[in-house]
């Protein structure tokens, strides 16, 4: 018994040390808000198209029964990082042929239309979420956020912030491969 007790301080040190190691890991982002949506059916929402943009509107029914997994991007013309990730999303839609849907979050339709004219419009559908209510249904904390939704309307992946940079794009493409929207050879 005495001998076991002698190891107790070591055990305590190991447990605490392990916890500190986990806490100090630079890859861990304590600000990350975990999503409750992962592996859940996409929330219910129904959005009108952006006024002045040809692209049709977006609702939950558009996410169910698609051929392959789709990307749902929440963006706004006033959001600077959205501008940065626009090229990445455009490439995924046009080069890799993945269906890209958009939610235009709390944006003036004219601003959104101008933004899409200037940068190009890779979206197959865009819903105009002026009140931000659809954003709450999706549990977003800000823009941009990007989701991967499977063909039966299940949310598979969520990326908070712009999909830019090697690491983020790599992770996102890997998630697309796992969702079956992208071939592994194209990774």
């Amino acid at each position: 018994m005495k001998r076991i007790l002698a190891f107790l301080p070591l055990l305590v040190a190991v447990v605490f040390g392990g916890f500190f190691l986990w806490g100090l890991n630079p890859d861990r982002d304590p600000n990350e808000v975990p999503s409750v949506l992962i592996a859940q059916p996409a929330p219910d929402f129904d959005l009108e198209p952006v006024v002045g943009v040809e692209t049709p509107g977006l609702s939950r029914s558009n996410l169910v029964g698609t051929e392959t997994a789709v990307i749902l991007n929440v963006f706004a013309s006033w959001c600077v990082p959205c501008r940065a990730e626009h090229a990445v999303l455009t490439s995924l839609a046009e080069r890799d042929g993945i269906r890209l849907f958009g939610i235009n979050y709390k944006d003036e339709p004219e601003d959104a239309a101008r933004w899409l004219t200037e940068l190009g419009n890779p979206y197959a559908r865009i819903g105009s979420d002026i009140s931000g209510r659809a954003g709450i249904e999706w549990g977003i904390s800000g823009v941009p956020e990007t989701f991967i939704v499977s063909s039966d309307g299940t949310v598979l992946y969520r990326h908070v912030g712009p999909v830019v940079g090697e690491v983020a794009v790599g992770k996102f493409r890997e998630a697309l491969v796992q969702a079956g929207a992208l071939l592994r050879e194209d990774l």
Partner: protein, 157 residues
Amino acid sequence: MLRLFVLLFAMAIPMAALAVEPDEMLDDPVLEARAREVSKGLRCVVCLNQDIDSSNAGVARDLRLLVRERIVAGDSNDEALAFIRARYGDYVLLKPPLNTRTYVLWFAPPAMLVMALGVGLATLLRRRKKPDPRALSDAEEHEIKQFIDDQQAGENI
């Protein structure tokens, strides 16, 4: 000293200022008070360590409006809270709920306290029980008695 306290108190007042804007407030003071009660338990998902009542973030404002909308629609406080929790998860609650994932969080501190008290008590008890090394053993007592007896016997001669 009192003056210092008054100063500190005065400095703390602006900190407690709410971000709730007049146009968000409900006309019915009872419902508004309930909305405040619910908001107090909701975390702003942008600024993380603020409740939504004290945050100026856009999402916090949306959540405040949503809470009021649910309350006006006839939800109880718990239902309004559950509505938002269904969308943002347990994370949105400032006070973590008690469930299998949070047992460690809730029970580790009292468990550690009990363990520390146990160790402390055991140490104290052991220290008290330890026989006094200055006291003599029975054999020694006996020997001394013998010695004294012998001495007395010797004097009497």
